[in-house]
C-alpha cells in the first residue's frame, strides 16, 4: 500500500514536470502556474530577493513574509507540497521554468513570428539559445552555486528533466519536424550545447556576451555538420542496398 501511494505521488510529480501532448483546441496548462501559493511565494522571492540574496532559503522566507505569510510558513508549505522539500532547489527550478515560460511567451509574439518566418532552423536555434542564455544574466553571479546545487544526486533528475524540457521547447519553436531517431539526437545535442554554453558563459568577460554567442555558433555548426554526414551516409547505404538487390534480381531474371 505504501509502495502504491509512493508510486502515485511520483507519477503525479512527473506529470507536472514533463510536458506531453500539445493541444490546439484544448487549453494547454501553462509552464508556470502562478495561481498556486507556492509559485506566488517563489515569484516574489525571484523578483525581489534573489538579485540580492541569490537562490537561498532566506530569499524564500523573506518572500513568504512579504506576501503576508509567517516567515516560517514557507518551510511548512514546501514540506508538504514539493517533492524535494528543498527551498533552494524549488527556487532554482522556478528560475528554469520562468525562463521557459518567458521564451514561450516570446515566441508567440508577432516580432518573433514575422522576423523569423523565412529563417532557417539553425538561425532560429541560434537566436533562441542566445535569448535563453541572456535570461541568465540577472542571476549570473549566483549561477555557479545554483549549478552546483542542481547536480546533487537528489536533484539531478529534476534538473535533467528541466534541461530536456528546455531543449524540447527550443527545438520545437525552431520548427523541428523530425519524426524518427533524429528527434532524440537533436534534443540531446541541444541539451549538451546548452550546458556547455552555460558553463562557458560563467567565464565570459565580454560585456554583451559576444564570446558566448560565438561559442554557441561554432557548436551549432558542428551539430549541423554531424547531421549532414549522418544523413549522407544513410542515403548512400540505402541506395547501395537497393541497387544490389536490383542487380541480383536482374541477373536472376536473365536466367
Amino acid at each position: 500500500m505504501t509502495l502504491r501511494l509512493f508510486g502515485k505521488q511520483a507519477s503525479r510529480s512527473l506529470a507536472g514536470s514533463i510536458r506531453s501532448y500539445h493541444s490546439f483546441y484544448h487549453v494547454n496548462p501553462p509552464i508556470l502556474d502562478l495561481s498556486t501559493v507556492e509559485n506566488q511565494v517563489l515569484d516574489k522571492a525571484y523578483e525581489e530577493y534573489v538579485p540580492e540574496l541569490g537562490f537561498t532559503k532566506e530569499a524564500v522566507e523573506n518572500a513568504s513574509y512579504a506576501i503576508g505569510l509567517n516567515d516560517n510558513s514557507a518551510n511548512a508549505l514546501f514540506n508538504f507540497t514539493s517533492s524535494s522539500k528543498d527551498l533552494e532547489m524549488e527556487l532554482i527550478l522556478f528560475h528554469l521554468k520562468k525562463c521557459r515560460q518567458d521564451l514561450e511567451d516570446f515566441r508567440k509574439t508577432e516580432t518573433f513570428q514575422n522576423e523569423f518566418k523565412d529563417k532557417s532552423e539553425t538561425d532560429k536555434l541560434r537566436y533562441l539559445i542566445n535569448k535563453r542564455l541572456a535570461m541568465n544574466q540577472p542571476v549570473l553571479k549566483f549561477l555557479p552555486k545554483a549549478l552546483g546545487h542542481m547536480i546533487l544526486p537528489t536533484n539531478i533528475a529534476k534538473s535533467l528533466a528541466e534541461l530536456h524540457n528546455l531543449s524540447d521547447d527550443i527545438t520545437y519553436y525552431a520548427g523541428d519536424k523530425s519524426t524518427d531517431f533524429t528527434w532524440y539526437s537533436k534534443r540531446f545535442s541541444i541539451s549538451g550545447l546548452f550546458v556547455q554554453s552555460e558553463l562557458f558563459m560563467l567565464t565570459d568577460t565580454t560585456k554583451d556576451l559576444s564570446d558566448t554567442a560565438k561559442f554557441v555558433d561554432s557548436r551549432l555548426q558542428e551539430i549541423d555538420t554531424a547531421g549532414y554526414v549522418y544523413n549522407s551516409v544513410e542515403e548512400w547505404l540505402f541506395f547501395n542496398a537497393v541497387s544490389t538487390v536490383n542487380i541480383v534480381k536482374s541477373q536472376l531474371a536473365r536466367g
Partner: protein, 216 residues
C-alpha cells in the same frame, strides 16, 4: 519509386482554431492516452509503409501483383505522413525504437515477399488483422473516455474538433487497412505454407511491437 517520404497534397489536414482553444484542458490521463495513440500509430504506419516497400522490392517483377501492391503501399505512405504530421504538431515523442522498426519492417516485408507471393499476402493478412483490432480499440476509448471535456463558451460537454479529427482519421485508416486484409485474402493468403505458423508469428511480433511503441 524510392522517393516517397515527402508530404503529399491529399493529406487530411487538421484545422486550427481561429480564436484560441474552444475546450477545457484534457486530463493528464487523456493527454497521456492521446500521446500514446499518436506514437504507436505513427510507428505502426511507418512499419506498414516499409513492409510494403520490402514486398514491392521482392515482388515487383510479378506483373499481376505489382499494381495491387503499389496501391496498398501508396495508401500506407499517406497514413504514415498523416501521423508524422500529427506527431510533429502535437509535440509527441516518436518511438525510440524507430530505427529498429524500420529495419524489422522492411526485413519482414522483403523476407515474406522473397518466400513467395502467398507468404507475402499472409503477412499482410496477419498485420492488418492486428492493426484493424488495434484501431478499433482506440476508437472505442476515444469515444467512451473523452466525453467529459467541457466547452469553454457554454456549460456543455462535447468532442473538440481535434478529437473528432483524430477519430475520423483512425476510422478512415481502419477501413483502408481492412480493405488490404480482404485484398490479401483474395490473393491467396490462405494458401501460404506454413500458414498457421507464419500468420501467428507475425501477429505475435506485431502485438509486441504495438506494446513497446505505445510505451517507449
Amino acid at each position: 519509386m524510392w522517393v516517397h517520404c515527402g508530404v503529399r497534397p491529399n493529406l487530411i489536414r487538421e484545422t486550427r482554431p481561429e480564436q484560441g482553444p474552444s475546450h477545457a484542458p484534457l486530463s493528464p490521463a487523456q493527454q497521456a492516452y492521446l500521446e500514446r495513440v499518436i506514437r504507436v500509430d505513427q510507428a505502426g504506419e511507418l512499419g506498414a509503409d516499409l513492409i510494403y516497400a520490402g514486398q514491392y522490392l521482392a515482388l515487383s517483377h510479378n506483373k499481376k501483383l505489382k499494381p495491387v501492391l503499389k496501391h496498398m503501399w501508396e495508401q500506407e505512405v499517406h497514413h504514415r505522413s498523416t501521423f508524422n504530421n500529427l506527431q510533429v504538431e502535437h509535440r509527441v515523442r516518436p518511438s525510440i525504437f524507430t530505427p529498429f522498426w524500420k529495419v524489422g519492417a522492411f526485413g519482414m516485408g522483403f523476407a515474406t515477399g522473397f518466400m513467395n507471393k502467398e507468404a507475402a499476402m499472409a503477412c499482410t493478412e496477419a498485420v492488418e488483422t492486428v492493426i484493424g483490432k488495434h484501431y478499433n480499440t482506440q476508437l472505442r476509448v476515444l469515444t467512451n473516455n473523452f466525453a467529459d471535456v467541457k466547452e469553454l463558451a457554454v456549460e456543455k460537454c462535447s468532442d473538440s474538433k481535434e478529437i473528432e479529427h483524430l477519430k475520423e482519421t483512425i476510422r478512415v485508416f481502419r477501413d483502408q487497412e481492412l480493405e488490404h486484409l480482404d485484398t490479401a485474402i483474395q490473393h491467396d493468403s490462405k494458401n501460404a505454407r506454413p500458414y498457421w505458423l507464419l500468420t501467428e508469428t507475425i501477429k505475435g511480433v506485431c502485438k509486441t511491437a504495438v506494446y513497446l511503441a505505445e510505451r517507449i
